[in-house]
Subunit: 463 residues, 2 copies
């Protein structure tokens, strides 16, 4: 269903739900600078913006064309994934027990070589559906066939920052010329499109797969087009060994010396850092994106998140690929992130506090993706990217109010994406009472299975 069809679908219910929505009596977790929580509050949306946020007692003026009862629900800014590969969602659950190199050789490279545009569309549609159903309203994505991914994002109603995986290593399923051209086309055609919901970056993949020249080219073009960079950085110890072996310095120092790093860079992983590198990330205002589930499953180590946060580095949180995360649910990711950091730090009850985890996937990710002014919190003037989470459930009981509250702890440690009831992006309702309006759930799920079979058969792969 296209966005226009979706709007028509909703207009069967109320006359013009998009221009004016009032959400009443919700517990608002604003994620503003003061981490303000409004226990019984309201939010008014006009067109794509939040125009009022306040206590229920202060609500003035009439209702709205669409009034949502937020009683028993938390209203949050939509969650953001700082690092995703929507083209790999079709490989969910593959290759458990395989060494990553083996996984890549056996499944990923052949799969990627056989992946056509409409396959990427199907994989991205499945991704968008899963993200909407778990309360993710925006994501940073990097892969191939990004034109198709952009179409899927446009049709889903989500917000995203898209980039092409730029590579020129021998094993890569693409080349410097091809990936540079594709990324430039993507930027030209899609940056600022889909009512402004899609923006673009350049995606020099990683120091191991993209040459010095390709990184420099990507930086130059990013500057020319006024967009950012989405890269992988120091994910494995072998990444570090490779860079030291080839360039004589560690990856962060190497990229910094090339002038690649900066506040417009999304740097996925940043697991293996020495003290100097952490300092360089801070000085350059680079945005590390932590991907705890994938890093744990692939056994690459754990990023020093608590240390980076303490230094004031803007660390975000990402889902990475379904092929190694297996569930694209930022609520689950927050819990895993907190638990793993507690282990890494050997510190009890939180190397990352629940509030910090929530900040990582809202305000921090918004800033990292270049949307700091427009999304990431529930504040007047920001885009209406909002979710409602059902709190009246056994696994979030009791809910305690006093000098402190366990509300945020319950959201981070107890909730899952399945507790999200309502998703609004850019002022448009994408899910209500868990019914997604922009996508035909059954059709997307069926097409995903058929598509994977076709790709595997084309690649000569047998599960």
């Amino acid at each position: 269903m296209s966005v226009n069809h979706r709007r028509a679908w909703f207009s069967l219910v109320v006359e013009d739900p998009l221009s004016n929505i009032l959400i009443k009596d919700a517990t608002i977790v604003t994620m503003n600078r003061e981490d303000r929580v409004i226990r019984r509050g309201y939010v008014r949306i006009e067109e794509d913006r939040i125009v009022e946020v306040g206590r229920a007692s202060g609500l003035k003026g009439g209702g709205a064309e669409l009034v949502l009862d937020g009683k028993g629900q938390a209203l949050l800014p939509g969650l953001i994934s700082g690092h995703t590969h929507s083209g790999l969602t079709l490989l969910r659950g593959f290759g458990e027990g395989l060494d990553p190199d083996k996984l890549w050789e056996t499944w990923l490279w052949p799969y990627e070589r056989s992946l056509r545009g409409k396959d990427s569309y199907a994989s991205a549609q499945l991704t968008c559906l899963e993200l909407i159903k778990s309360g993710v309203t925006c994501f940073a994505d990097m892969h191939f066939n990004m034109e198709s991914v952009a179409q899927a994002v446009r049709d889903s109603g989500l917000r995203a920052s898209l980039s092409v995986a730029m590579m020129d290593s021998e094993a890569a399923p693409t080349t410097a010329d091809r990936s540079t051209r594709e990324n430039e086309e993507l930027v030209r055609r899609w940056h600022g499109k889909a009512e402004g919901r899609i923006s673009c970056m350049f995606g020099p993949c990683t120091v191991r797969t993209a040459s010095r020249e390709l990184f420099l080219k990507a930086r130059e073009m990013a500057d020319r087009y006024g967009v950012g960079l989405h890269i992988h950085l120091s994910e494995t110890s072998r990444d570090v060994q490779h860079t030291v072996g080839r360039y004589g310095v560690r990856p962060v120092k190497y990229l910094h010396s090339l002038g690649i790093l900066g506040d417009d860079v999304l740097a996925a992983h940043c697991v293996h850092l020495d003290r100097e590198e952490t300092e360089l990330l801070k000085q350059s205002r680079t945005n590390p994106i932590h991907n705890p589930s994938c890093n744990a499953k692939t056994g690459v180590g754990m990023a020093p998140v608590a240390e980076m946060l303490a230094k004031g580095i803007n660390v975000g949180l990402g889902l990475d690929a379904a092929v190694c995360n297996d569930s694209l649910d930022m609520f689950r990711e927050m819990k895993v992130g907190c638990l793993l950091q507690s282990v890494a730090e050997g510190r009890s009850y939180g190397g990352i506090l629940a509030t910090e985890a929530l900040r990582m996937c809202t305000v921090n990710n918004a800033l990292a993706l270049g949307f700091g002014d427009s999304i990431g919190s529930v504040e007047v003037g920001k885009k209406a990217d909002l979710i409602l989470v059902d709190l009246v459930q056994p696994h979030m009981t009791p809910l305690v109010w006093g000098q402190t509250s366990n509300l945020v702890s319950n959201l981070v440690y107890s909730a899952t994406g399945r507790d999200v009831t309502t998703v609004i992006v850019d002022g448009t309702m994408l899910m209500r009472e868990r019914i997604v309006s922009s996508l035909d759930e059954r059709a997307v799920v069926e097409k995903a299975g058929e598509t994977l079979e076709r790709v595997l058969s084309r690649a000569g792969l047998k599960p």
Copy 2:
């Protein structure tokens, strides 16, 4: 609603659903010795037992009084939690960021001292409700006021193994005499009761809080009554230091020398083990219960699960207390367990494979709780403790069938307890289409909140 009322409630729908249920066209994950998966199979239940398991093509004979369509669903043995404290569920989300000792002093001891029977009943009811809703059909529980917990378990329709936290240290909220008497009464009154769904153990809590005499007394009584022991073992490095300081040997060796260990012992945690201790656990056939979320959150370290499994030790999986796990969902616990072990091992894609995680919370836990012959797998002659999991969902798509399948990976890494649609315990339907029949969900949730407020107020605690 009592069990009898519930039966009456169901008999409004069909004449006698309890005597004869047929589940058709489900994907059966049997968890038998061969890990057999039947892609399109059926299970027939008569009274409390599984009487037929087979391929749909082999289904003979008429229907049944209740026929469930399992299409698009996985049928699994109900999951089992090997270590739980249902009396602490009311403290969910408390004390984040506090050192464990501080958490205990500030919240747990005062809470426990103020906890009366009906408070424990409310906390256990909330626990049972959450467990049913996430597909847990049996749990091992240890706390105070276990008479009230037993009543809650009986009324919920679940299966459980219950024990009293036996302690005689100075700080403990009980004494040797009192806890011994209470545990003996519990065994006398409840072992084998509630249509056989409740069994009991003795619960000498931990080497730090229970003296040599109390451990010996518990062992002697367990032998006299023919029941097992439920203990905490080597959870923290301080536990080890304490035992070495006081008894000159490490905890496992100490308890082994007293004759405490054996195949009837549930030993929660077993995080800090040396090689000799691992060997003693194996020789004595003691059952370690791994509690990954709680161990991670409290930062105590990680149990050497992969090593123990490789040695052939029967390791189970537990949820531990909601106060430090925050969600009583064995599906989420399996994923966290796998991810943490991958980190502990520094091994990619699985220190614990998905199948092993599923085995830990089905057959391994069944054996650990002393129910190895009656539950833990979908096999003829076993009790009908079964769950159905909805597979046709974006976050479990695609589902691939070939020489291998990603089914078990999707169940362990992608599913959550929210995907469970149907729960049957002892042949009785406790949940259907996510409606719990044995408990009034809204009332249980409301009562939990009121009860916590009352207990905190009685204890002079302010959140």
